[in-house]
Symmetry: C2
């Protein structure tokens, strides 16, 4: 164990102790704590904005890109949005203590499964300082302690937001160690978090692909994340052409930089208006990288190469091909999808049902835009992220995904024969 | 990638393909397949017993212990028990396709979570050949393909049982690759399974502590297991003495070698009859390793040393101490428990509730023997094991624990504003 492993073990032990108190906290207490944290963020506005100004100045000096500086920047409007997001989490339903199921046995024993917090969450994120407040709020609301490790660009902003959050939750009687900010920017601290099996219960990376890839590659602690969102839409022969066009345009072009954006379009060979779909995308400013069949339909398409089928562009570019059946669509998706979100457009219920059954992604839609892949749109209130792993939680993950369960057994003195 | 990694990747790819067909199989088809497998086991009785006789002869030559030989041995009675266990799994309820919850949004989208199989399970086990049939049955029933890697002592028995199982499921139209037996006893194959992230979805070790420890230590694939069952019983001052004595004796002495056996007894200082409990255990043939307070009560106790509080004996030995309150009991358990099963004996409902809320183990009982920690006793029909990890599934794990979920979204053409 290196010195930094020891340091992380010490933080995790403090977080674990705090997590036991949080696990006992009532719905009301956690809710009040987050309302107090939201107020504390507003009360600390001057301090937080001054800290952010320091980060912005340092970022400009370091030559951060305009996009990165924009992600880093706070102003009164953004800070009040952060505080109101914390208040929104405060009023979400508390999953802890919910009875999942209950089972009375012939011998009189009653087994109940009840939701309990996971314990200690490690959140590793990049330049957006709002994650400090968001992740802490979701953690506390679900009874988990969090260890936050933000990016070096936002070090002052994160610290000021963290301080305000802690002030708020302490005023409601929750332990300060429910929210711990990693006190160093040493990159080795991230490695130590990823190795902290048995000390940190789950790691959630929030940020770009290289961060997520590093975390997934190195972590020994379970990770909740998605690496890619290579989302497909399959336009079946039975699709309504107006609906298909509207959904395809929305799924690709509403916001091209989000993980639920369509990256690959599969058009059935019997769909009556394939050229319309291609034309609409190109007219809207999207580059279409097509197979031979679709290239014949519009001279403005470009030829797709093999790696296009495995690429998440996050830009106004789409790969597109013709498929001869729902079987071929499902097989293409099995080969190329990242398991995030796919959608079928069709009026044929039987085909839709088959597609939804056979496509093995976290979210499988019928007649809807893949851009709905978002915890808020799913009615979850807020999300800590979208998971493409198969275990524990899949798809949009909110408070319930931050819990596990234990079995409570009620007897009247039963012994096992 | 070594040659053995390539070989395991090839097996896993075959299993993944089979798992897609299994995921589509109906409840009835999976059930019929297991009934056919049970019949095939009986039909292959002569072949299986001859194979087992070879293993027994080799085992005797290698000098296996009597206990290991007994675990390895099959006869007509044991084989028919194996077949009837497979039949039992065939009639369990199919979790696949169950709707966990459903949520209609104001925009008309309906989000449903439905249970789906995990995919490919890797089962790593030791000498008991019945695991070949059990694990394959639970896997197929829940729609998962399984890769089995049994111990070298049982290589012929496992192969004969595997062949019969495959004959059975193929006769019902399921793919043969739904059940794959690792074709080599090379220990490197286990390492390759443990590293096969993205190819094998979950590893389940079945066997002794050294096997589980190795798997947990090396695996990059998620593992479902428990390492220790250091189970505690806390006898509170409000316990009924007859009930306390009956439960303590049963929890320790019914079977000392199972993971749900009590290993540590905590007696409240205000419990009226502590000497009775100690005496009953010793009279029943149990060694009591006690703290000073309990040693004063019975001259036949021996002095506990620090490591006794962290020891799973699996023998007629118990560590025992006096605690001054439920707080101290909870704190002792937090320090020393392996997170498996604990029980409180008391007539005081408020204290029991507090204990059940604050103790952070997979199973927390009130007025019942820890020996009920078993999937069958929980009404789950059968179990693949008991998990002490915090994520995905906890406590006894049966068919539902071998599933995950996906989100199905039903729209009528909605695009995201």
């Amino acid at each position: 164990m290196s010195e930094i492993d020891d340091m992380v073990a010490g933080l995790a032990a403090r977080a674990k102790t705090a997590s036991r108190a949080l696990a006992r906290a009532s719905d009301e207490q956690k809710s009040l704590a987050l309302k107090a944290a939201a107020s504390a963020l507003i009360a600390a506005q001057d301090i937080i904005l001054a800290a952010n100004a320091k980060d912005m100045a340092a970022g400009e000096k370091r030559g951060l890109s305009a996009a990165m500086l924009d992600r880093l920047k706070l102003d009164t409007g953004r800070l009040s949005a952060i505080a109101s997001a914390v208040e929104q989490v405060a009023i979400l339903e508390d999953p802890v203590g919910q009875v999942i199921d209950s089972n009375a046995r012939p011998n009189g024993l009653v087994m109940k499964r009840v939701r309990v917090p996971i314990g200690v969450l490690g959140i590793i994120y990049e330049s957006r300082p709002n994650v400090t407040a968001d992740a802490a709020a979701l953690g506390v609301r679900s009874g988990n302690a969090v260890i936050l490790r933000g990016g070096s660009e936002a070090v002052n902003s994160n610290h000021a937001i963290f301080k305000a959050m802690v002030t708020g939750i302490e005023s409601a009687g929750l332990p300060a160690d429910a929210i711990i900010l990693m006190p160093t920017q040493d990159r080795a601290a991230v490695g130590a978090m990823l190795r902290a099996q048995g000390q940190i219960d789950m790691i959630i990376p929030r940020g770009g692909k290289s961060l997520v890839a590093r975390v997934q590659d190195e972590a020994r602690v379970p990770v909740l994340a998605h690496l890619d969102g290579i989302c497909h839409i399959y336009v079946h022969s039975g699709a309504d052409p107006d609906m298909a066009k509207a959904i395809v345009l929305n799924a690709k072009m509403r916001r091209t930089g989000i993980c639920g954006a369509m990256e690959s379009l599969l058009i059935d060979q019997d769909y009556p208006a394939p050229a319309d779909l291609v034309r609409a995308l190109i007219d809207a400013g999207c580059e279409v990288r097509a197979d031979d069949a679709l290239m014949e339909l519009d001279a403005r398409t470009v030829s797709a190469v093999e790696e296009d089928w495995d690429t998440e562009y996050l830009e106004p570019i789409v790969s597109a091909c013709m498929v001869d059946s729902v079987e071929e669509a499902v097989a293409h998706i099995a080969r190329h999808s990242s398991g995030h979100t796919e959608s079928i457009i069709t009026s044929d219920e039987a085909v839709a049902k088959r597609f939804q059954m056979e496509v093995d992604s976290a979210i499988v839609m019928h007649n809807a835009s893949t851009q709905f892949a978002d915890g808020g749109e799913f009615g979850l209130g807020a999300e800590i992220g979208i998971a493409t792993g198969r275990l524990h939680a899949r798809g949009p993950v909110a408070l319930e995904g931050l819990t596990t369960y234990k079995w409570l057994v009620q007897g009247q003195g039963q012994v096992r024969p």
